[in-house]
Each structure stands twice: as C-alpha cells, then as structure tokens.
Symmetry: C2
Subunit: 392 residues, 2 copies
C-alpha cells in the first residue's frame, strides 16, 4: 500500500427537498453575492432555478445568473463567467446542475481567484493558489464533481478537453436530492451509472499498492450501482435506487475508493476525453465504448485485479485459469453495459472516426498525458492508437 | 432510507513518518500558539513527543504541553487544560495519542471557546457554539475520534461518563502513521479492533431505513477488521494490517457507515459507558463483554439485519430459519471476540458487580439516555438491567 491523503471537506445534505436549505448553507459559508451557474435550460423548465432564486430573495442574498454550460463545458463560457463575477463582485458560486455546470463553475472560480488566463491550469502551465468558494445543487448523478477535486473543460479551438485537479475547488456544500434526478432521460441515467462505476474502476485496476478496505468499499460500491442501474432501467422513478446511485456517485470520486493505491490507471478516461473533445459524445457512453478494448489490451498485465473484479463484482464463477476468469469478468461487464443500453464500441456509440482521426486522437491523448500513462499497464501513443483501433 | 448529512472535513495524512508534517499542517490551519495534549507517558517514552516539539521549535511555533489524559478521560484534567489555554492564549490544540487525549482535547476546546462550565454540554444542559481548532497525531486505532464529532468525558464525582457530539469538534487534520501503533500491548490492539467494529455495528443494527451502499461499505469494513485483527494477534508488527485497522477506525466513526439510517442503535455503547465510568475498564473490552447479551436480548426485534450480518460479515451458512442464522451469527461474533482474547461477559472482563451495582448502572444508563434508547429494539431501564444481569 501507498501513503495517501484524504480530504473531503464538502458538507453533504442528502434527501428530499433539501434544496430548500440553499440560502442557509450559502450564509454558513459566507457567500454574500452569488453567481448561479447552470446548464441548458432543464433547471429553468423544471422550476428548480426559480425555487432557488426565490430562496435567495427571501433571505436577501444577491445573485446574478449564467446559464449555458453544455456537456463537455466550453472555455468560452468560463471566460464569460469570470468577467461577470469580476463586474458584479461575486464572492460565492452556486452550480445548479450536473458535472458540466459544476466543472464550469470550478473553472470560473479558478479564473476569478487567480487572475490571468484560466486555461493555463488545464494546460499544465500554472498551478492555482485558490478558488472562489462553491456550492452545488446536483441534478445528475454521474461525475462526482460535487465532492471531487476535479474539473474538466473543453477549449473550443482544436477541441481540446483537459482536466485540472486541486483541493481548492472542492465544493463547500453539496445538496443531493434524488428526486431532482427523476426527470433525466434513461440514456443519461445509464451514462451516469457508467461514469460512477468507471471512477471506481479507474482506481481499482492498478499495479500500485492496494488496501483491502479500499477494495472492499470499491467492490461494494460497484455491486450497488450495478444492481440499481438495472432497477432504474425498468423503474426510473424508484427513489431509493436514485438515492443509492446518487450517493455512490459522490463516494466514487471523492477519493475514498482510491486510498492506499498509486492513484489509479485513468487511461479509459484519458482516451474518452479525446473522443469527447472531438465528437461531443456523452462522457459515460464514451467510457463504456472504450473500456472493453482497453481492458482486453491491458488485463494480462494486471491479472490479479481483473480476476478479483470478476469474482467480487461481476459474480463470475471461480473456475478455469486466472486469464479465463479475468476475460469472463470483462465480458460480464460488457454484457452489463449492453443491458443498460450503453455502447461497447465506437460504432455503437454512433461515431465512425477515420484512421487519420484515430491517429490524431492517439497523438493528442499522448501529449495530454505527457507521453505515457497508466497503472494496470503503462500506455504509450502506439498503445493508445491500438486501443482506439480495437474499439471501432 | 432516511435523509442524512455527511460532513467529514478532517484532512487525513496517512502513512510512514507523516508526523513530520505536523508543523506544516498547524500553520495551514492557522495555529500560532499550541497546547499539546497527551496521555500517560508512552508518547514521551517513545520519543514521539520530542519529535513533535522539535518540529514546532524548528518552525518557530510556540506551545505548551499538558499530559495525563487517562482512558475514560477525566473532567478535572479538562478544567486544568482550559485554564492553561486561557492563561497562555492558546489558539490551536494538538492531541497526541488515542481517543482519551483527543476527547479530552475536544472538551478543552469546547471549554475555551464557549466559556462557562464545560460539563454542561456533556450533561445536556447547553449547546456549544464552537470549539477551538484541533489537530491529531493518532497512536491508537480505536475510537475514531480523529475524524468524529464525538467526545466522551468522565466526571470523577459520581463516576459519570457522558458523550457530547457536534461538528465543531471535528479535527482539522489527523496524522495517521500505522507505525505509531506498533508498540501497543496486544490487549489494547484487540480492544481497538473491537471498538472499531462496534462503531460500525451500532450503526448497522437498526430498524430505521438503511441504504444498500452503506450496508455494503459497513460489511466490507467489518470483514476487513475481522481479518486483520487476527493477523495482528499473530503478527503485531505487520504494517499493512496495522494500516487496514487504522484507516478502518477512522471510517467506522466519521459517519460513512451510517448514511441513510436512523442514526443507529448505540445501546451497547451506552451500557458500556456505565461500566467504564464505574470500573475504569478498557472501552473495547467493555463493549465486547456486553455485546453478546445485548444481541441475544434484541435480535428477534431486528431479525433481517442480524441475518444479513451473519451471512455477509460472519460467513455463516445460509441454512435453517432466520432466527437460527441470526443466532449463529451472534455466536460467531462471540467466537471471534474470544479468538482475539476479548471478554464476552463481565466475569471475563474481570468485574463482578453486585445486584445493587447492576441496578444502579441500569438507572444511570436510563437517565443518561433520557429514559429509553435503541433502534434494533428500544430499551427501557428494566431492559437495561436485564441485559446487565445476563452479561454477568
């Protein structure tokens, strides 16, 4: 096992109607002038935004609003948000939505606090020294950004998608009301479940040290999401299943499922980021489309973990060689993806890149990770290209 | 499932030699004049206290020291610490030790911040509005106080042991170096493992709502501690096993294993508190001595949970009636306690209360919980007395 740091300061308030506490929580964390940042309109249509602004009005908390955060949120809107915050002297950000609104708000927070070009952080050119404080009302269980140190932004020019991680952007509070996720299309629900599982699996498949307790928590989380994703496929309004998935989403990416490991593999995410930048596909679906090809490419180099995954998460029978068990685990995971209507290759994802585009994605991916990355297996540009080719 | 709040702001720094970071962490959280609070001398003898004061000296951080926190820490020392802090203008507390030093430091923090008689909080007469900030260097994996909102103090007059809970006392940082627990006597290690498991089991055995993910995490944690407690019985210097138990100890009591339930049962703890107040027994051993009698008294009222515990934690065969399975789970847990040399009744604990003392403990326990308490089964004074009697 490796040494680790664990820091999850976000105050989580979980349950029905908990968005009613938003003004109280903003006051608790010292916000006086708020930027409410949201997505493409569903929080307006559902009436949630109005309920939030009514709460702030009632408590005399001033605010401005900025909508328009899209999946794979854009740098242009981040710049717009930074200027608005400066002009309006905003001292607290409230993201209302899913990972896109939260990640975009985090980037705005970095920009306002640190000055200069905010893309520098995502481009590995500078390190942030702080971030404007941030609260979240979550409407999509998926990215875990409501408790995480992570933010992913897409630069429109060249369609470059990059993440930046620091404890500064961990939200002060997160309001998690499972009811708010009821209106999601089934496809988005399945994408969210995939993203949640992948956040844990990226940490699970390592050749770095592991802890038994971390493995036990990770496997328990994966089994829970797998089971409840199937419940939601058949019964999307099941509150308890929504709650299980929503809480799993936060725990999957707040650091808990990686304690004691080397930090994880993360190459499925990196490979998907290039897809997401180029094609604007849903992140969870992109992950599902890539994972199987990645897993088959690397599993022999990380056989004990793939075997453990097969037995403890996918309930594969403990029969045959380790390789056979590991492969049956990968197949079972792909079967699960198909059962919740997730793609297991790029065609099923609905994209059909040319060889030239595959080469370009592999190159951009390799550049983005500084040449090589991975813990289950260290991948170089040629490996990345091979996985992209296998995923068609 | 129930709504819940989850708030674990403590920055955990886990691994070898991490006590070297103490000055840096104190500075990060704004401490300028420190009270170092510790126990009965082992941190002096081991050289840990000297390493800590050397670190603070090197960074020019001023401090005073106060030793003497004993198991079931005393109110008298808390008063002494409060006066010392006021006199020396202390603005940050550093507890070096186990739960006794941490709980005592938390009480000192309440006293300094709020003024007035600090016992009022423990006696349910006032609510704290804050607490002096606190950091921890942990040397015993057991109480989980390094991340918890809890503090338990014993008032010498009448030997009354009471807890007080609030988020204000959650430590700012916790340094967890498994090597620092290596010198513990085997008995204390086993007591710690018992306490850790009991913190999770108190939350697990409820008739309130539960979440599948919380159950999965709790069961994974319990299996991990059970396995590693046996490893440590035979190989006390096993670093990885020390690490598993140490991290489990923090997670068992920071709130994670109770999300979505009604808060838990906690009657084994309450029954033990009276024993601990009267006899000054080790907390973990007291819990083990009471648990079996409690479990046999209540299991029929909480059968699904006792069955689940038997199957998923104690690996009992799924055969026979639910009652039979539940009882075999209780027996298996008692066998486990015996295997790590923990008592399963008061005689084995080394105490032999008179009937009058049992009556007195049951009465004090009932008063302490406001007349009744419990979720697996609500217990009144007569029930408490019956469990005490059965535990002889």
């Amino acid at each position: 096992m490796f040494d680790f740091k664990y820091f999850t300061p976000t105050k989580v308030v979980f349950g029905k109607n908990k968005e009613e506490m938003v003004a109280e929580l903003i006051k608790e964390f010292g916000g006086t002038k708020i930027l409410i940042h949201y997505g493409t309109g569903s929080v307006v249509r559902s009436g949630l935004l109005k309920r939030v602004t009514d709460s702030l009005d009632a408590e005399g908390i001033k605010y401005v609003t900025l909508g328009g955060a899209v999946p794979n949120p854009h740098l242009g809107l981040v710049h717009e948000g930074i200027e608005l915050c400066k002009k309006e002297n905003v001292d607290f950000l409230l993201a209302v939505g899913g990972g896109s609104a939260i990640d975009s708000a985090k980037a705005i927070g970095y920009g306002v606090f640190n000055g200069g070009e905010v893309w520098d952080f995502y481009d590995n050119k500078r390190k942030a020294t702080g971030c404007l404080p941030l609260g979240v009302i979550l409407t999509i269980a998926a990215t875990g950004s409501e408790m995480s140190d992570s933010s992913v932004i897409t630069k429109e020019e060249g369609l470059v998608k990059r993440g930046y991680n620091s404890d500064f952007c961990r939200p002060k509070f997160a309001i998690l009301n499972p009811d708010l996720t009821m209106t999601l299309p089934d496809y988005q629900t399945a994408c969210g479940c995939t993203d949640i599982m992948m956040h844990t699996m990226e940490r699970y498949f390592t050749n770095g040290g592991n802890m038994e307790i971390t493995d036990a928590l990770a496997e328990g989380l994966l089994r829970t999401v797998k089971k409840n994703a199937l419940i939601l496929r058949d019964d999307p309004n099941n509150y308890d299943a929504r709650a299980e998935v929503m809480w799993a989403g936060s725990l999957a990416h707040n650091g808990l499922t990686g304690c004691g490991s080397d930090g994880g593999d993360w190459m499925t995410h990196k490979l998907e980021h290039e897809l997401g930048g180029l094609y604007d596909v849903a992140h969870g679906a992109g992950l599902a489309a890539i994972w199987g090809s990645w897993a088959r490419y690397v599993y022999k180099d990380c056989l004990p973990r793939f075997k453990k995954f097969a037995l403890n998460v996918m309930d594969v029978e403990n029969k045959g060689t380790d390789e056979e068990i590991a492969l049956r685990g990968i197949e079972a995971m792909e079967d699960f993806y198909r059962s919740i209507k997730m793609p297991t290759n790029l065609r099923e994802l609905g994209v059909n890149p040319t060889e030239e585009e595959l080469v370009d994605m592999a190159h951009k991916c390799a550049v983005g990770v500084g040449g090589k990355k991975g813990s289950a297996k260290v991948l170089y540009e040629a490996d990345m290209l091979a996985i992209y080719r296998a995923s068609i």
